[in-house]
Amino acid sequence: MLKGKTYIKASTAEQALSLARENNGRVRYFAGGTDVMVNRFQGNDLADLLIDISEIQALKEVFASDETLAIGSLISLDDLAGHSTVCDHFPVLAEAVKSVASPTIRKTATLGGNLLCGNRCSYFNQSEWWREASGYCLKSSGPVCLASGGSKHCFAKFVSDMAIVLISLNACVELLDFSGTSIKPLESIYTGDGMAPRGISPESIIKAIRIPLNHHISSVYKKLRKRATLDFTSLTTAVSVKKAGSIRIVLGGVHAKPVIVDGKAGDDLKALAAAAVSQSRIVDNDTYSRKYRKDMIIVFLERSFKELQLG
């Protein structure tokens, strides 16, 4: 067991995992760190043991087989956007990447880090002083949610834009944890509880993201934010249509997890959009109001349907 503040670089995923095992899972993995470092500065992340996994070369590669595109989780967002194999198969991924953070942050931030980026709320992403002065929100171990004015459930918003588009593409994650390697749908790692938004153990490492190929998918991606750069999402939508006819709508920024609505060609599009709205759980924890974000779901989806020439 390591004591006190420690920083270790791991050179393989297995080494990172064994460090986690030796320390009973009390570790904070750390890839680009663009999210973690800010949380630490604000006192929202107090983990003593930082394991820097950003130099694990094996997790930065991209492989395409006949059926699957596997993207290493530690590829930087910038490299991902410029990767010809990825862009050839899924131009929407490059489009989504370019909407994340700022160009400089994207040089450091990783795909895996984005998928595991902390859920955000105006009442939580604050300094320790601020949270104390506000009386601590639910996510900061306070009695109730301040954003909703008293709820016992935390809806800190889900802000990974990459997850939204990847889920629309039916992506899976390859996870390494104490029990070995497993592959599961990306959406399955998100709980919907803003307090503990990810249902994976702390030692888990996402090794790769696997996207099925040959579905001839067309996708449309949209993001709502005040400025055309830098800002976290107020609403992200991705709509993907397979040639075979299935439609997948995924929303970010409007719930503690991605909102997913599956449909198929010929479905009533208005009903699909309405289903997406009704599944969202928006609270006033953002620069845009709850009502506006809700209204924009419909606008964004209708535009997406139009661009995809559905209906």
Binding site: G4, K5, T6, Y7, K9, F30, G33, T34, M37, V38, R40, F41, Q42, L50, D52, S54, A101, S102, P103, T104, I105, K107, T108, S122, Y123, Q126, S127, W129, W130, E132, A133, S134, L146, L224, K226, R227, A228, T229, L230, D231, F232, T287, Y288, S289, K291, Y292, D295, M296, V299, R303
Partner: protein, 934 residues
């Protein structure tokens, strides 16, 4: 602690780094390279950008230990063999550097961006990609335009297959000519090298670090403070509480209502309750956590309405004022006969407006170091007004004025936000006195927001009436502003909201009433365009509405009503030069107003507005008979003229302006001029950088001094050469008679002057003429000259989401005479950038007295991709009293841009904007209402 081996700028460092230390901290504090700046500590501003193994990273969110074995490049490495990198040269040449605080990060980001853009041959695509590439680096001064030009220019140069012969780089001092020649700031090269030292870059030996414990309550009595546990912590040297420095201060003599540390009660969440001086920042911060404070919360007042009302049984925020409410200041003035005006008006428009508070958003956080020695107190601090701080420190520290020295180093932007004396400046002075060691402090970005002094949240109802022909008959304004917990400049702000409506249009019947209230929030103060930005917005919106009512082009309506030159306003402001008409005509021509307005595609719109502003307040804040500004010149045997001035260059280029004026008068190159400014020991009193006064007042003092020196030289030459003084010319480093029988180099003339006399020192000054009427309140807004201007904005509104994109701003500003056109353009572009922010994205959002968006991620300053294309025009009217005809250019330009954007939104959507920032949601809702009404 771990040892790391890190190469920084090619030099190997073996440094001990703590486990969770940031690279920015290591570079600045351990490698001692302070060119890397810290602006936000959260990866949101880009000031800390460095290259690690060639890749741009944000060093404030990069762990130092990650960089073990890496090669780090900071700004200091770019210049080689004493020569700037070409990209740095272009930053200098294009005027891309104002305060210079964002510059190191911006340059390194651009450098890492450039290679990928080489293939881009299409010019507009290149500009777009440069904007995108720089979009993580905030600049608050330039509006990005000149930065983008520099970077795009660099990419074009490195892309060129044939080497085109660009003229060799000339440092600012080598550019010939004086007034009217565009030139970079004299210190631009130093800034672009990362060598200019800002307050936090100056580290004195044995300095202690200061951190603050801040109140968690908005309004509470302090019952008990227990520092015992904190005091015994190793490394803690002193803990100060409010009773030790109870002296009250405030920038205005009439609002001395603040103490450095709260005494007995706190009036806003974030107010300083205790201050620790310790060996390190970490120890000081940890000690703050160990201080126990017992508060008794009392009822808080958070809104204008709350504070206007009777406080009932509740304790007021300040126990001053005759009535049982929290009104700080009430001001009212009436001119002409408003009732008659209303009767005469055939069309009237009355609307209510609401404005959120704003932050200056300067990129450099407040920082200071104080120490005491045989000369008393010295403080090196990021301040716009050394003189008022000098007075405040003498008062609170209880020492004579002669024992206080205030030094302003390079300053990373101010915009009004560094113009009050601040608690942290007083506290480090006190801690240094108690510990006998220098004490330094740098505020976090959150603390900068808590310190505030930004634009007041405001509510107002304004009514205007016009005749059928479009002559303005009446204007009435009813204004309430939310001052926060203390006075600051608020009394002036109150007046300015009213009095600064009496131009640029001719008014006969005009009146206003304003209230400023105290609330339990961080205090508001002066911010660019002080006091009149919001009420100007209201008036320009009403004019737009009235133009529609009488079916007249809003430009024509404005043209009809402009005041003339050389006239008096209804409140007896003396208007001299006035370029309103030229400004408006210019933006109409450049924007294609006549041809394009009303013919744009759906969702696009054009809007117009005008404005004016003071060119320095004619009255001093602290009543005394000192001149507004004094400038000393010293000419010695080496031929160099030393200019000493108390004025503060805060990034707006005032040091360069002083040199230009002296150069023009004496006909000598800038290489013979050295400016030493803003050190209250060495430089004569100037009232500081606020109210857009520096060019006019310090400029006039410099001109006066230079003319006196010229006379001294002339007299010496007349005696020696027996010529008529009227025949001597000073030009091109020579002094010669009309017939050139006397023809001396500058050095020859200097030898004659200094023979048997030595160095010659002269003193010039500026005293404002007596101005204004004889009534209470007549002094507010009096200025020896006023600037005028106009803006036309074009917007694109998404009709389904309500999202507004400001695509273009055409602006024209009458600055009298552009002493340095490059600097004037920079001020204008920066103003229009900042105004765009207020219009579309910036606001301070509170939750129960706590600022929700206290960082650069959530306080939304427009980035390079959010800032419109700015088309700046300088209008010159040659003011009769300004130095060489110059007047202000730093603040007035922000006034017209905000209503121009709102009026453009109306033109695009039919929705009248009555609250700022513009809300997409409101636009949608109002479009729906309008649609239903049809």
């Amino acid at each position: 602690m771990q040892q790391i081996n890190i190469s920084i700028n090619g030099k190997q460092f073996h440094l001990l780094a703590t486990e969770h230390e940031t690279l920015a901290h290591l570079i600045r504090e351990k490698a001692g390279l302070t060119g890397t700046k810290i602006g936000c500590e959260e990866g949101s501003c880009g000031a800390c950008t460095v290259l690690v193994d060639g890749k741009a990273v944000l060093s404030c969110i990069t762990p130092a230990l990650r960089c073990d074995g890496s090669e780090v490049t900071t700004i200091e490495a770019l210049a080689k063999d004493g020569k700037l990198h070409r990209l740095q040269e272009l930053f200098v040449e294009k005027g891309a550097i104002q305060c210079g605080f964002c510059t190191p990060g911006m340059v390194l980001t651009a450098l890492s961006l450039a290679p990928a853009l080489i293939r881009e041959t299409d010019s507009s695509a290149l500009i777009r990609k440069v904007k995108e590439g720089l979009s993580g680096n905030l600049c608050r001064c330039t509006g990005y335009k000149k930065i983008i030009e520099a970077v795009a220019g660099y990419v074009k140069e490195i892309s060129a297959t044939t080497v085109s012969k660009s003229s060799p780089f000339k440092p600012a001092h080598a550019i010939k000519g004086g007034v009217g020649i565009p030139r970079p700031y004299l210190e631009a090269e130093k800034k672009v090298r990362g060598a200019a030292e800002y307050a936090d870059d100056i580290v004195l030996k044995n300095s202690l670090h200061c951190k603050f414990l801040r109140s968690i309550h908005s309004h509470a009595r302090i019952e008990h403070i227990d520092v015992s546990e904190a005091m015994i912590m190793q490394g803690v040297h002193y803990i100060a509480t409010g009773r030790e420095i109870p002296g009250k201060f405030g920038v205005l003599p009439i609002s001395q209502d603040e103490t450095a540390i709260a005494v007995e009660k706190v009036r806003y969440a974030g107010e300083i309750v205790a201050a620790v001086a310790a060996d390190t920042e970490e120890i000081a911060a940890e000690a703050c956590r160990l201080i126990r404070v017992k508060y008794k919360p009392i009822r808080e007042f958070l809104t204008i309405e709350d504070s206007l009302n009777d406080a009932g049984e509740n304790e007021r925020i300040h126990e001053t004022g005759k009535f049982n409410n929290n009104i700080h200041k009430k001001a009212e003035l009436r001119f002409g006969d408003q009732q008659q005006g209303i009767k005469e008006a055939e069309f009237t428009s009355k609307m209510s407006f609401e404005f959120e508070g704003l932050s200056h958003g300067f990129t450099e956080p407040h920082a200071a170091t104080a120490y005491w020695d045989e000369n008393g107190l010295t403080i090196i601090t990021a301040t716009q007004v050394p003189h008022y701080l000098h007075r405040a420190l003498a008062k609170v520290m209880e020492v004579p004025l002669s024992r206080v020295r205030v030094i302003k180093p390079y300053l990373g932007g101010g915009f009004g936000g560094k113009s009050d004396p601040f608690p942290h400046e007083i506290i480090v002075s006190h801690l240094s006195r108690k510990t006998g060691r220098p004490v330094r402090v740098r505020l976090s970005r959150e603390e900068v927001f808590l310190t505030n002094h930004g634009r007041h949240p405001s509510k107002m109802t304004v009514e205007m009436g016009i005749s059928g022909e479009g002559t303005i008959k009446v204007l009435d304004a009813d204004v309430a502003i939310d001052g926060g917990a203390y006075g600051s400049f608020g009394v002036v702000t109150s007046y300015y909201n009213g009095v600064l409506l009496q131009a640029p249009y001719k008014l006969d019947n005009f009146g206003f009433r304003t209230y400023r209230v105290y609330t339990n929030k961080p205090q508001c103060g002066a911010m660019r365009g002080h006091g009149a930005v919001n009420s100007r917005f209201a008036v320009e919106s009403l004019i737009d509405d009235l133009a529609i009512k009488i079916a007249m082009d809003p430009c024509e309506l404005r043209m009809k009503n402009f005041l003339d030159s050389n006239t008096l306003t209804v409140g007896q402001y003396r208007i001299t030069s006035n370029g309103s008409r030229e400004s408006l005509q210019k933006v109409m021509d450049l924007s294609g107003w006549k041809d394009r307005r009303g013919k744009l595609e759906k969702g696009r719109g054009l809007g117009v507005a005008c404005g004016f502003f003071i060119s320095g307040s004619a009255l001093p804040i602290i009543w005394n008979e000192l001149p507004q500004s004094v400038v000393h010149l010293k000419l010695d045997f080496d031929g160099r003229v030393l200019v000493t001035s108390g004025s503060s260059d805060i990034g707006q280029g005032s040091d360069t302006m002083l040199a230009i004026i002296v150069s023009e008068v004496l006909g000598i190159g800038m290489d013979k001029i050295f400016v030493l400014a803003a050190d209250t020991l060495l430089t004569p009193v100037d009232f500081g950088s606020y109210s857009s006064r520096v060019t006019f007042m310090a400029g006039n003092a410099a001109k006066d001094a230079a003319l006196i020196l010229k006379k001294e030289i002339t007299e010496a030459l007349v005696i020696k050469h027996n010529i008529n003084p009227g025949e001597l010319n000073f030009s091109d480093d020579r002094i010669y008679s009309n017939d050139t029988t006397t023809n001396l180099s500058w050095m020859e003339a200097v030898e004659i002057l200094t023979a048997k006399r030595g160095a010659v020192s002269v003193s010039g000054k500026y005293i404002s003429p007596k101005l204004g009427g004889d009534f209470k309140g007549a002094g507010a807004g009096l200025s020896p000259s006023y600037s005028f201007g106009a803006c036309i904005a074009e917007v694109e509104v998404d009709m389904e989401t309500g999202y507004v994109k400001v695509t273009d701003v055409w602006g024209a500003h009458d600055c009298g005479k552009a002493l340095n056109p490059l600097a004037v353009e920079g001020q204008l572009e920066g103003s229009w950038h900042m105004g765009t922010g207020q219009a579309i994205s910036e606001q301070m959002k509170y939750y129960k007295g706590l600022l929700l968006n206290n960082n650069f991620l959530e306080y939304k300053i427009p980035t390079s991709v959010d800032t419109p294309d700015i088309h700046a025009s300088i209008i010159e009217t040659i003011d009769p009293e300004g130095p060489f005809g110059a007047k202000e250019a730093g603040e007035g330009a922000i006034h017209p841009v905000i209503p121009a954007i709102a009026n453009a939104i109306f033109n695009a959507t039919g929705v009248r904007i009555t609250s700022l920032p513009v809300s997409a949601e409101d636009i949608l809702a109002k479009m729906k209402e309008n649609h239903l009404a049809e």
